[in-house]
């Protein structure tokens, strides 16, 4: 539920993800500019360092130290995890004040993961990075002091592999799994069903999992896991006419953009009633100041 101020360290990446969400305007890689943005933050308590890929940045440790100096209490590194195979780098990062890691992984094996990252060998490195984090957070020195989230981009490629991916992540003791919609060509109804099953699999393994980008009308029965309902942010995105009558219309970000493509609107139905609406509204009203504005 914590919202982080995102600091993009640049577009560089050691992966070549086809669906990389980094936008051109986020590409502010120069150190001076990153520091300037950090200094400009009104409340730098929670900071997320992301890319491209954050770990190759040569000034990463300096930035960590700078963020700590500015009063950051939670510094999250958003990463492919590939460089976390380097034990020295990992311990330096943790020693430097980075205690939260969000590792992007897209499958339970190289076939699906690397079909998305476009880099051979990247899966084994990401897995080893996650294993290192698991080893460290299970050690007496760091018990309860390291938080690991896994971000799985849900695409056409890995729909069939979501459940094995959840099983793999559960075995690595991650603290949270995020299943995030990627790409506009995703068959949403089928994807929502696969995601719903994956969420249940995670719960069965006692791991908290949530989904992003899957509107509540598609996630009936799994509303508790819809990130947009847990961190409700009023949405002003223009939605199709059919969504206007939906009880979640002020919160939901709606169907993927370009809904006309491939009959993407199929499956989206305005939700007319839900036992959760009142409580979600309450959550919206009382949400943490940490929540996104």
């Amino acid at each position: 539920m914590i919202a982080y101020e995102k600091l993009c360290l640049g577009p560089e990446s050691n992966d070549d993800c086809a669906l990389c969400p980094v936008k051109v305007e986020q590409r502010t890689g120069a150190l001076t500019e990153v520091i300037h943005r950090l200094n400009a933050l009104a409340d730098p308590e929670n900071v997320a360092l992301c890319g491209g890929e954050s770990t190759p940045h040569k000034d990463l440790l300096f930035l960590l130290s700078n963020a700590c100096g500015r009063g950051a209490r939670r510094i999250k590194l958003v990463t492919s995890g590939r460089r976390l195979t380097d034990w020295d780098l990992l311990t330096e990062l943790i020693g430097g004040g980075c205690r939260l890691f969000e590792v992007k992984i897209h499958g339970s094996g190289p076939e699906t993961h690397e079909a998305i990252t476009g880099e051979r060998g990247s899966f084994d490195q990401t897995l080893e990075g996650l294993q290192n984090l698991s080893t460290l957070s299970g050690s007496a020195d760091y018990e309860g002091a390291i938080y690991v989230a896994a971000r799985v981009g849900v695409t056409r490629v890995n729909l069939e592999d979501l459940i094995p991916t959840i099983a793999l992540l559960a075995s690595l003791d991650v603290d949270r799994i995020i299943l995030a919609r990627r790409g506009i060509d995703l068959p949403m109804t089928a994807a929502a069903q696969a995601v719903g099953n994956a969420l249940r699999m995670a719960a069965l393994n006692r791991v908290w999992a949530e989904c992003e980008g899957f509107p509540p009308c598609l996630m009936k029965g799994s509303e508790m896991h819809v990130a947009e309902l847990l961190r409700p942010v009023p949405s002003e995105v223009r939605k199709p006419k059919g969504c206007r009558a939906c009880i979640y219309t002020d919160i939901c970000s709606g169907p993927p953009k370009d809904p006309a493509r491939k009959g993407c609107l199929r499956g989206f139905r305005a939700v007319s009633s839900s036992s959760y609406v009142e409580d979600v509204s309450y959550l919206l009203r009382t949400r943490s100041p940490h929540a996104e504005p």
Binding site: M1, I2, E45, C68, A72, R73, R74, I75, G97, R99, L100, G144, A145, I146, Y147, A149, D175, R176, A203, R206, V207, W208, M224, H225, L229, L230, Y276, D279, V280, Y282, L283, T286, R287, S288, P289, H290, A291
Partner: protein, 426 residues
Amino acid sequence: MPNHRRRILLVSFNVAGHDCLALGYIKAFALKDPTVSRQTQIDILGFSNEEDSVRQALYYVTEFKPHLIGFSCYVWSMTTILELARSVKQIMPQVPLVAGGPEVGPMADEYLAVHQQALDVVVHDEGEAPFLDLIRHFFAGKGRLEDIAGISFRRGQQVVRNKDRTPIKDLDEIPSPYLSRALTPRDGVTYLQSFRGCPFRCGFCYEAGRHKMLRFFSYERVKAELELVMGDPSIRSFHFVDSVFNLNPKHLGRLAGLLRDANRYNTGLRTIEVFTEQVDEETVRYLLQAGVQSVETGPQTAIPETQKRIGRYFDADKFARGVRLMQEAGIDVWCDLIVGLPGDNFFRCAASVAYSMGLRPARIVISILHVLPGTPLFEKAERFGLAFDPAPPHYVIANDSFPFDQIYNAVLFSSSAAKEYNVALT
């Protein structure tokens, strides 16, 4: 010369290396009796709830060759104690086994009926006076079990319930466990108490099912304990187990003065319970004077409707102000949340987590509702549609607003969210 003293063993399984204050009181009170002091040897045996095994404990207990054993029973240790007691009975069937404490007291007769192979006597409420009577009965043949108020006991297959006992009015009748050396103060795990009882009636709390009347130790007695504990430079911090440390400005002011005067080595007071809505600038001044470094408080839930159902007073704005004042004064505030309260549901739980994070406390502590024997929620379970495990730790299963699947997911969600919040750099 052989030691003919009767050996009494007081056993507890403690959390996080703490001592059992209750057993310290029982030992100190018993040894006040000159005959008991002369003729018995009372030892307290505290095991680690996390690290020691039942067989290990059994070995220790049998090595002591006790003539009477008392167990201090809490929700976290009851299962272990029953396992130990059953084993002890196999080896030493002649030794009377007495159980007391918040887990067994309110269900004394049920425990005796169900666990016939383990327990002989269960104390209903406060244990000092009944246990002394039991020592006199078993070792001096004084009085009949039927005449000891405040206990239930087993006679063959039958459970006999005696009348309840009026609690000791003047708490100074109970010697200090520390001043009498029944317990030795240790850094970080020493508990003191200035009064018993609680003015509040929170539905989930054991204190709410007990005596409404507050009873106080004298300030002279508290002062003497403080001077002992705080006069030891190796003790860097300790705790007060008072249900509400800031009970009222007068009491808090008096305590703060005693703490300030006894504090020669900059000793800190940690994780005391405060009523946050009542915290104002004056309270904060007293807390600082008292050397308070951290406090533990609610809100348990941020949903007013739920608070009302469980009998708690809650004012979100006053609570937030109290937390802010303490944090600004450098006092760490730990906010507690309970998952599974009647009136809540998954999204209400999420709202409580969001509200608590918004207060920016030092830590957020999540726990699952234990429907504890003797609490209002336990007594009125039907009214709340409460389903829970009748065996300890009495985890809630569902209630009329919070079905099981939502409780299960709320535990996963809030534990993850709290961990993410708590990894913050200090």
